[in-house]
């Protein structure tokens, strides 16, 4: 089996570390991250004809005022 080059292995390890760091965020911060994911993904879903709605969070509404 082909082994990963050390540089690539390091990249994968860093990615994994970031995912674990994200897992430790407080729940409200995670909810905000989910909404950011929705904002990024919604145009792709809509282009495929799927109807999706990005959540409206109260604090985001306040920030936009």
């Amino acid at each position: 089996m082909e082994t990963l080059k050390p540089e690539v292995a390091m990249l994968f390890a860093a990615k994994e570390a970031r995912r674990r760091k994200l897992a430790r965020l407080a729940f409200p911060e995670k909810v905000r991250a989910v909404v950011r994911l929705q904002e990024m993904a919604a145009p792709v879903f809509r282009a495929r004809g799927k109807i999706v709605r990005v959540w409206a969070l109260e604090d985001e509404v306040m920030n936009r005022r």
Binding site: L22, A41, E58
Partner: protein
């Protein structure tokens, strides 16, 4: 989201639902990295009706009365599409009973335990459930003894073995 949770808490306080708990991708997100989802999955225990039916109609009616409209399989509550699922078996009833209360800003939310999320994924068995189990196994702090008990009580040990690494 805070207002959405307040509405869920009000529904429980007013007896529209006996108990609720967040499930699905948002519950998993509580334990692992943020996962993309467009709806908030909520398990509910409904009050017993005369016909002993698991009908969401009284819940939808109560929500309409509060000004929240249905949108596909969801109800749009304060900007968040909420998908309600009645507890239809013993595993979901247990998951609801043992769900944890957690603060969210100034309100509280009840979230299904990670071990129950794994058991529900095993029972449902779709490709995305398999992926969710993998992430929960990698990132959540699981109580393996508690998980073993859940799997044993609900006859899921056989399904768990092939899903382990």
């Amino acid at each position: 989201m805070k207002r959405t949770l307040q509405v869920l808490n009000e529904l429980e306080r007013d007896g529209v639902v006996e108990r609720y708990a967040i499930g699905g991708a948002m519950a998993a997100t509580f334990y692992v990295e943020p996962l993309l989802t467009f709806d908030l999955g909520v398990f509910v225990i409904l009050p017993q009706n005369a016909a002993n039916l698991l009908s969401l109609a009284p819940l939808y009616e109560a929500l309409r009365g509060r000004g929240y409209a249905e949108e596909g399989e969801c109800v749009l509550i304060e900007g968040v599409p909420v998908q309600f699922l009645p507890a239809y078996n013993a595993l979901l009833e247990e998951a609801l009973r043992e769900a944890r209360e957690t603060p969210y800003e100034e309100v509280f939310a009840r979230v299904v335990r990670a071990e129950h999320l794994i058991a529900i994924c095993l029972q449902t068995g779709r490709d995305k459930d398999r992926e969710r189990v993998r992430i929960l196994r990698e990132q959540a702090d699981l109580d393996m003894n508690y998980l073993a008990g859940v799997l044993q009580r609900h006859g899921l040990e056989g399904k768990w073995k092939p899903w382990r690494p």
